[in-house]
């Protein structure tokens, strides 16, 4: 299936429009096993390593894709766009400027940006994007989101390794939705056959920068924690909310993307804290692992206030800054283990 790849800092790009245009939306997540050296020729080493990895992937793989879209999120998206434009070869490079606010004005602007994306795809690919095709893409997305919700619910009762859940999410963002639905169904079936939640593991909520590689989820597991709630994009942010299926589809998409669990890249830290508190209370949790990848400013800025508020509510919070590496991170492991012992 022909692919349009995208770089969004969290969950910002209405991939349903790409689906309605007849393409596979593929979220660029980079590869932690590949050196960032190609991107580092243009992006300095003190920039977000995940974003450098995304550029490295795009430089290597853009020939496989019909086009690339970058969506407004953090400064890595808007400031790096020009660098992608210079150094990534692609027949179609589009800037999607989703709003950072979430009020009525932002909703109107989001709709304008969605229409601009539709027009750009139609101009370039004669895509014939109709309301019906968008509505159908929305329905398919929602089926996947519902299945992911079911898988997620099993995290607290069954023995599901952190990586297994995480990889189901990644595939949901990179495979055709029908294939992803099948895979998630299979994952649910497997999970239901599994034993109960392991007694030697502690339940925790994961928050902070998006996680783009499974090794980090393994590390948390090895330190004795199972993530049963989270607010990351390769997690609950992707499926916690469903896209409204009634009414005008562009309007519905605009509403959806402004009401998903708030990332640090959007205005509204209070809403982010509220989501976390609600998740902790709903699931009877009191343990939070907060992390940001080195040089991820948006989440690093939030972490102090967010974590202090959670602590003030009686939750136990560990904050760590992590390197972008698949290898063993002893320092990180020590901190996680010390946290576990402390609990």
């Amino acid at each position: 299936m022909k692919t349009i790849a995208y770089f969004d800092a969290t969950h910002d790009l209405p991939e349903e429009i790409i689906m309605a245009a007849g393409f596979l939306p593929y979220k660029i997540l980079g590869d932690v096993h590949t050196s960032n050296e190609p991107a580092d020729r243009y992006l300095q080493a003190f920039f977000c390593p995940a974003a450098r990895s995304f550029l490295t992937e795009a430089m290597a793989r853009s020939g496989d894709w019909e086009g690339i879209i970058l969506a407004q999120g953090c400064n890595a998206t808007n400031r790096h766009f020009d660098i992608w434009k210079r150094h990534v070869t692609t027949p179609f490079l589009h800037w999607f400027n989703g709003p950072s606010r979430d009020d009525a004005l932002a909703h109107r602007f989001m709709k304008t940006e969605i229409w601009r994306l539709i027009n750009a795809l139609e101009r370039k690919f004669c895509a014939g994007i109709t309301d019906e095709k968008i509505a159908s893409a929305i329905r398919e997305s929602n089926v996947l989101k519902r299945r992911l919700q079911s898988l997620s619910a099993l995290r607290g009762t069954k023995d599901i390794p952190n990586r297994e859940y995480f990889e189901a999410l990644v595939r949901s963002m990179q495979l055709p939705k029908a294939d992803a639905i099948e895979e998630v169904n299979a994952a649910i079936a497997r999970a239901e056959q599994r034993g109960p939640f392991p007694s030697n593991k502690r339940k925790a909520l994961l928050t902070g920068s998006d996680v783009t590689y499974g090794e980090f989820m393994d590390l948390i597991d090895e330190a004795g924690f199972r993530i049963v709630r989270d607010d990351i994009s390769e997690g609950e942010r992707y499926y916690a909310t469903l896209i409204p299926e009634e009414g005008e589809p562009v309007d519905a998409l605009a509403r959806y993307y402004l009401t998903i669990p708030k990332p640090a890249t959007k205005v509204g830290i209070r809403k982010r804290i509220d989501y976390l508190e609600q998740a902790l209370v709903q699931s009877g949790l009191d343990t939070v692992i907060s992390q940001n990848i080195k040089f991820c400013e948006a989440f690093a800025y939030d972490s102090v206030l967010v974590n202090n508020e959670l602590k003030a509510k009686g939750h136990r919070v560990l904050h760590v800054e992590r390197e972008f590496t698949p290898g063993p991170d002893n320092q990180l492991m020590n901190r996680l283990e010390a946290f576990s012992e402390m609990l």
Partner: protein, 427 residues
């Protein structure tokens, strides 16, 4: 008005100095006015203040008779007063990462330790307003502080004009911005009880343009060789443009400076002593506020910074003599398209034009550890300038407010190497 282009590079020990303009010290009057007014507006209960950031159109606040307090500016004061390091370290001890902007951390430390205004402290405002046009830091920082101080917060969400954005798209972006202006007016009214006085806002905008015009005129004179004015001085004197655009006391100060420079230009007098200017530099980025001697020390190598986009970017053409709705659209455009946050394609064209206009021999790019947004694209910028114009470019990694990032010996070695490179490039 010829630069001495043939004399050999002077040894570093010669101690050539920057000659400040006669009215340089008059900057203290606008500064005193600003600090005093800030205190009066803070103390009187019926007066209101707002924290605001670079890139925010202060004229909007003047239209409400709200006094703008500038945390970034006060952070530079803390650095100049040798306070920034302890404030930054204080913020880090609160949990803020070593990798975050040191303006923000200076402010967080200043608020938490409640230091005096003269050392870089800042009063609690009535509202906090900012934009996301220049960086994520501005709004992340202001949002955190608004929560901490329990002060209402407003952010202008400025769409990004990336390379290749067409005019039709920009017009759509402007519509979104204009919607936000009206929202902002409601926000201010709700939280301060103040109504917008359109006439005073338009007057503030016109006066602001008058101030900017003088600053741009000053820059015209800087094209002369030898350069009559350098970055060593502009880094201090541009202050009124940021914090009090359009205020009479600032305009008067600029007029005096402009007249000093004009006189110098007419007599062929440079900021370096006669016949010693050899290298004309462009410096990109925020200066090292805790080590302002850096700019002065360049004189030892007969080098003078004749153009810096940083201070110039505070004087973009502003709406003048337009009607209300046209003005709002113009302000919106300026907010989204500041020279400091130009996209890469525009930035390259802009720099190359400045290099030609100011007859630049070498470019220093400050790769600022605090400021990823302004450091993005620097490698491409460097390559483009070198390839297109053959002008040497030096990237130096440092930080504008954190003395821990500055290594005296390393800086000296790099600058000396660069001077040699420019010398070789000439021959």
């Amino acid at each position: 008005m010829n630069s001495n282009k043939t004399a050999p590079a002077a040894p570093e020990t010669e101690q050539i100095r920057i000659k400040t303009v006669p009215h340089a010290k008059a900057i203290k009057w606008p500064m005193i006015w600003y600090l005093l007014m800030g205190q009066i507006y803070t103390l009187l209960p019926w007066k209101k203040t707002a924290w605001t950031c670079a890139g925010f159109p202060v004229e909007l606040l003047w239209g409400f008779d709200i006094f703008p307090l500038h945390p970034e500016n006060m952070a530079t004061v803390a650095a100049a007063q040798k306070q920034s390091q302890r404030l930054i370290e204080h913020a880090e001890s609160m949990g803020y990462s070593r990798d975050l902007c040191t303006y923000c951390k200076t402010n967080i430390g200043a608020v938490d330790t409640n230091i005096k205004t003269t050392l870089g402290g800042i009063a609690k405002p009535d509202i906090i307003t900012c934009t996301n046009t220049i960086c994520d830091t501005h709004w992340k920082w202001f949002q955190i502080q608004a929560e901490k101080l329990k002060v209402p917060f407003f952010m202008f969400d400025c769409p990004k004009i990336v390379s290749g954005t067409d005019e039709r798209t920009i017009e759509g972006y402007i519509n979104y911005m204009v919607d936000q202006f009206y929202d902002f007016f409601e926000f201010v009214k709700k939280h301060t009880g103040k109504e917008l006085n359109v006439t005073s806002m338009m007057k503030a905008s016109d006066d602001s343009e008058l101030m900017s015009v003088i600053w741009r005129e000053i820059f015209e004179y800087r094209k002369c060789a030898p350069s009559p004015y350098s970055s060593a001085e502009t880094s201090a004197s541009f202050f009124p443009l940021v914090v009090m655009p359009g205020k009479k006391i600032g305009i008067k100060f600029f007029e005096k400076i402009r007249d000093d420079i004009k006189k110098r230009a007419e007599t062929g007098e440079g900021t370096l002593s006669s016949g010693t200017e050899r290298f004309r530099l462009l410096f990109e980025g925020i200066p090292f506020w805790y080590r302002m001697r850096f700019m002065y020390d360049l004189a030892r190598y007969r080098a003078v910074v004749t153009y810096e986009p940083y201070t110039f970017s505070f004087a973009p053409p502003k709406p003048f003599g337009k009607n209300y709705s046209e003005s709002l659209r113009d302000v919106a455009r300026v907010m989204m398209d500041l020279p400091y946050s130009y996209n890469l394609e525009k930035r390259i064209v802009y720099f190359e034009q400045a290099i030609r206009d100011y007859r630049i021999d070498g470019v220093i790019l400050h790769e600022n550890l605090s400021c990823r947004p302004s450091s993005t694209g620097m490698i491409d910028l460097k390559n483009a300038i070198q390839e297109d114009l053959g002008v040497p470019v030096l990237i130096i990694q440092c930080d504008m407010n954190d003395p821990r990032a500055y290594s005296e010996a390393q800086m000296k070695t790099r600058i000396e190497g660069f001077i040699e490179l420019m010398e070789r490039n000439r021959t």
